[in-house]
Assembly symmetry: C2
Homo-oligomer: 334 residues x 2
Amino acid sequence: MNNMKDRVTIYQVAKAAGVSLATVSRVINKQGSVTPETRKKVEDTIARLGYRPSGLAQALATNRTTYIGVIVPSANYVYLANFLNGVTETAKEKGLVLTLLTTGHSRDEALSMIEKVISSHADGAIIFDDQLNPDDVQKISSYNVPTVVVDRTVTGNKIGCVRFNYDDALRHVITSYYEKGGDKEAYFLHVHNAGRLLSRCESTYVSALENLGRKVNVINSDDSYTRTYMDFKKYFKTIHGGLFICYRDSIAAAVMNAAIDSGLNVPNDVEILSIVGTKYAHIFRPTLSTMNIDMQEVGRRAMFMLTDLLSNNLIDKISSFDAEFIQGGSMIVR
Amino acid sequence: MNNMKDRVTIYQVAKAAGVSLATVSRVINKQGSVTPETRKKVEDTIARLGYRPSGLAQALATNRTTYIGVIVPSANYVYLANFLNGVTETAKEKGLVLTLLTTGHSRDEALSMIEKVISSHADGAIIFDDQLNPDDVQKISSYNVPTVVVDRTVTGNKIGCVRFNYDDALRHVITSYYEKGGDKEAYFLHVHNAGRLLSRCESTYVSALENLGRKVNVINSDDSYTRTYMDFKKYFKTIHGGLFICYRDSIAAAVMNAAIDSGLNVPNDVEILSIVGTKYAHIFRPTLSTMNIDMQEVGRRAMFMLTDLLSNNLIDKISSFDAEFIQGGSMIVR
DNA sequence: TTGTACGCGTTATCAA
DNA sequence: TTGATAACGCGTACAA
């Protein structure tokens, strides 16, 4: 059971080197003054014994773990993988280690992850999860854990946030579509429980169309390529055109493939816009029009904000990313 | 600086509840016998004070952290995201928390991640990284950290491994291609420094072709969609056909798009096989032939093996995944 | 420059 | 059933 039976401790090093604990501690932390000879003596025995300081004991003594808790809904989506990559990249630069906490589809699970952040003494947290509301975030911060929240506006003493602005870009795409002579009906693919980001886009879509005095068409859809593909194969038997606004590129591709396989032309009959896009959007043929935010950059920014928060240097507690429209072959250039 | 200034400790709970530390400890660990009344009294004050046990102190006292160190080259690839998802999923079932350690392109960095696993007292480790060799893994295990290694065969006392077998499937695809009347030249896209998995596939390709008495064609290539696309646009000006074997689906798609955009027909002129595939392989048109291994399942298996290792219940220390050929439109059905 | 002694927040072993 | 008290491995004033 005791899996560290023969773990070498600072005490053993001190004994073997003929010095005291404190001296060894000074050597490994490179602080305080130690004679070069003593230092060498200690370093040698450290190497000889294969001693590694216990991060646990260090953390307990210093109140710092260098752990950052990262809460995400799942590691399965490409854009989340990119985000994680950005976070890990800059965490590494700062000498921080990430603990990956994923939450399924319940808020309770998300709450229990907050508990883990607290009990693990994480030095900070990054939350990229829809299910937690501002109160939950305040809770984590009430335990003095500096936190950066992504895709949600929360303010507080030790809280920073990164926001996404898809709305301006989406509104602009829709209105300029009709201004420049686009004449297709616009449809929005609604996915149940797909998070606030999609909900906000849906609201933007609705208000943009209402402002134009046009009909609003929200289609219930599924967050799966295969299901969406099959649904739209049926759909395109009766509807033979339109502008379809989809959440992800895989869903957009489902609509695109269904249209093509139904004998419709993209973009002449059917135009498609994907809200979130990955590198695959440019690989599909035709390429997909998307509204891009570089999620890796978002990850970097979140981590930078957190380190600033840790050192009390965070000026702007709110950071925004504007989505950029990327024209692809799935929409007609006007 | 002291960011836990007002962290509630077990001692404060004991004092407020009028009992001793030991009793509080018994209550939170639900072991030993405590009077229902005392229990309630303690639980109430825990709730009232918002007490959370310090995972650090618990770990120091019990020698168990519930941390699992996961070492991966980067979180950026889709198949790695799937793998991570599988790992996190079953880790959560077992009450374990992951620390995500990514390694860039140097072995030194990978070694320093091993150091982190050791110093963080991780209860176990999962290594999915090409740059570490068996000796490095033995090192981690010499500190009594049970380890599961992915895509490398290592054996030892507290070591398990998960292997990938792409070779049989690849060899079979190639030989049966020619047996069934395929007549194109086979090309293998070599990517520098892309890991042992690809190297093994390349060897398999070479030996398979040599056995058939056919010409071996290895093309130097780049691990980027755009670069590969441009390279092959040039390439297809002189070469007008072939069977191209590519590492990833994005690379395979680059070749496919370059062929199509050069006026060649897929699969009649150009056939394409992607070794590693993601869900996007079925979305491309034509769909890509791939050799699939479910990386999420690999992640689950690795984590299961690790927990078995932790409880000394691991029977088979070697687990294998055979790649399965998935026919897509990028190859002719024969 | 070096060593002593205490604190970090728990668990666990004894007695009571 | 409860309560002292010694670990766990380290950092750090303070004293030498």
